[in-house]
């Protein structure tokens, strides 16, 4: 699995850090919305379920998950 994020769309709603705190963090910006930071672009098998939920529930569709077979 690979993870792609579109930072332009991120407003720091922070759903991802609730779903997959091992993979995402949200960092404050000087004069912009807080933005997601991917801590691990190739999450291990046991984290992948949480990552899919983070992508699914992100209100701004910032996170794209690319599965290995895609």
């Amino acid at each position: 699995m690979k993870i792609r994020v579109d930072l332009d769309l991120c407003q720091g709603h922070s759903v991802c850090i609730e779903e997959a705190p091992e993979v995402f963090s949200v960092e404050d910006q000087a004069d912009d919305y807080p933005k997601v930071k991917v801590l691990n672009f190739h999450p291990s098998a046991e984290l992948q379920g949480q990552v899919r939920l983070a992508a699914r529930y992100c209100p701004n569709k910032v996170i794209t998950v690319i599965e290995d077979n895609e």
């Binding site: 709603h13 004069d31 807080p34």
Partner: protein, 440 residues
């Protein structure tokens, strides 16, 4: 360079403002049908170019703040939000304010809101009895001001809220008409009423801020977030700015959400089969989770597709605008600085390329791949920051409501139509529906 076609019917001095004010939804549909992806019209001197189609809309949403200004296009909001707030603040301060505003709506704060909304619905329906008939446009205007103040300003404010507060909000919202985008300061009764309401709201909210500043109680609602939020230099917002953010946040969610709830209930009453499916879905969820938790609300496929279709057919905001600051170019057309560019959400949601048979209400539609066709909350970096709250609120309201009551239309189905007098679409009042208690 190609020439941008001009919409027919312009009057010598005022351009298209008369037709636009009378029915801006139809005007924008006509503009696109007549001229195609770029259509120029004139609103009492403000030359505006409507950008239609997914490519043009993507161009609009991806435009940089340096080239396309929201603040310049939305000066009509300044007398509503107040001086120095959002569209009247310098760009860096505006960014900080929007950041503080969205902070109050982030997930970790939102988790507390679902049970609050459910409780408001329970209180609302407590004296309904077994059956009856109500004007739901009126009812939802009340309910959503209750939920918004309760979630954002806290329980103490909600408990003390008087009828005056609601009246003030209605007066404030009534001032937002097409003409306000031409000049929001001209002498007009609706604008005088708006300014009096804004002044009195500031008194009420400032008193509350002062009370909190002198108190030891710790709050964790949106008002607390606004009061502790800081600019890049570490300074706090002034009381006027905090008041402005409170007004702006409630304003953004009140008219829009109440209109959506009313359309949602009307469409449910018009589509009993789909409504029954949603109730079935709710019953299955509630068997496992008696209290309405945030988690339970996350997955409701039937409710969500129905809500998505309501927002497609009845998008609360019809048109979005930006003022062109530096000359730009789209598809071989020059768009000079000083003009306004606009997109029609209503028109986009009726694009038959993405929504076949667009007038048909069909919750089984699948969302298009592109992010720039279905745009009830706008798109790009300025997408509505309240989108997650808005959807959560609708799901919480209808989860609590539909398990208790079923609904039927009272008048002829075709008589439920949009009220086009304001800039935010909602059903025309009275929007009469009949309710009946469900027998479990």
């Amino acid at each position: 360079m190609k020439k941008i076609p001009i919409v027919s019917g312009a009057k010598p001095d005022t351009g298209h403002i008369e037709e636009y004010s009378a029915n801006f939804v139809q005007f924008l549909l006509r503009a696109e049908a007549e001229c195609g992806p770029l259509a120029e019209y004139n609103l009492a001197g403000q030359e505006t170019i409507l950008l239609s189609g997914v490519e043009a809309q993507e161009f609009f949403f991806r435009g940089s703040d340096e080239n396309l200004s929201r603040a310049a296009a939305y000066q009509a909001m300044v007398p509503v939000f107040g001086p120095g707030v959002i569209f009247d603040a310098p760009p860096d301060k505006m960014k900080s304010q929007l950041k503080i505003q969205v902070d109050a709506l982030r997930y970790q704060n939102m988790k507390n809101y679902a049970p609050v909304i459910a409780q408001e619905v329970e209180d609302w329906i407590a004296d309904w009895g077994d059956e009856g008939e109500l004007d739901f446009m009126d009812e939802f205007l009340d309910l959503t001001i209750h939920t918004a103040t309760h979630c954002l300003l806290g329980k103490d404010f909600r408990d003390k809220m008087t009828a005056e507060f609601k009246t003030l909000y209605r007066d404030l919202e009534a001032g937002l008409q097409a003409i306000a985008f031409v000049d929001p300061y001209m002498q007009q009764p609706i604008f005088e009423q708006r300014d009096r309401a804004r002044e009195r709201l500031e008194e009420i909210i400032t008193a509350m801020i002062d009370e909190r500043r002198n108190s030891d109680i710790e709050y964790n609602d949106a008002l607390a977030t606004f009061m502790t939020g800081t600019y890049a230099d570490g300074s706090c917002l002034t009381s006027t700015e905090v008041t402005g953010l409170v007004i702006a946040t409630i304003f953004a969610g009140h008219h829009t959400s109440s209109g959506t709830s009313t359309w949602m209930l009307t469409e449910l009453a018009r589509h009993p089969k789909e409504a029954a499916g949603i109730v079935e879905e709710l019953n299955a969820i509630y068997q496992q989770d008696e209290t309405l938790s945030h988690n339970a609300l996350r997955e409701m496929p039937k409710m969500e597709s129905f809500l998505n279709e309501v927002l497609r057919v009845h998008p609360p905001l019809v048109v979005l605008m930006r003022r062109v600051i530096n000359d730009i170019e789209f598809d071989g057309h020059a768009i000079p600085a000083g003009k306004t560019v606009a997109i029609s959400i209503f028109g986009s949601h009726r694009n038959s390329e993405y929504f076949p048979d667009p007038e048909k209400f069909d919750p089984s539609r699948t969302e298009p791949e592109t992010m720039f066709a279905y745009i009830p909350f706008g798109g790009g970096r300025h997408k509505c920051g309240g989108n997650a709250f808005a959807l959560l609120q609708q799901k919480a309201i209808f989860s609590a409501l539909l398990r208790r009551y079923s609904f039927e239309i009272v008048d002829h189905s075709d008589s439920y139509v949009d009220d086009l007098s304001g800039m935010v679409l909602r059903p025309q009042s009275p929007c009469r529906l009949r309710y009946k208690r469900r027998v479990s």
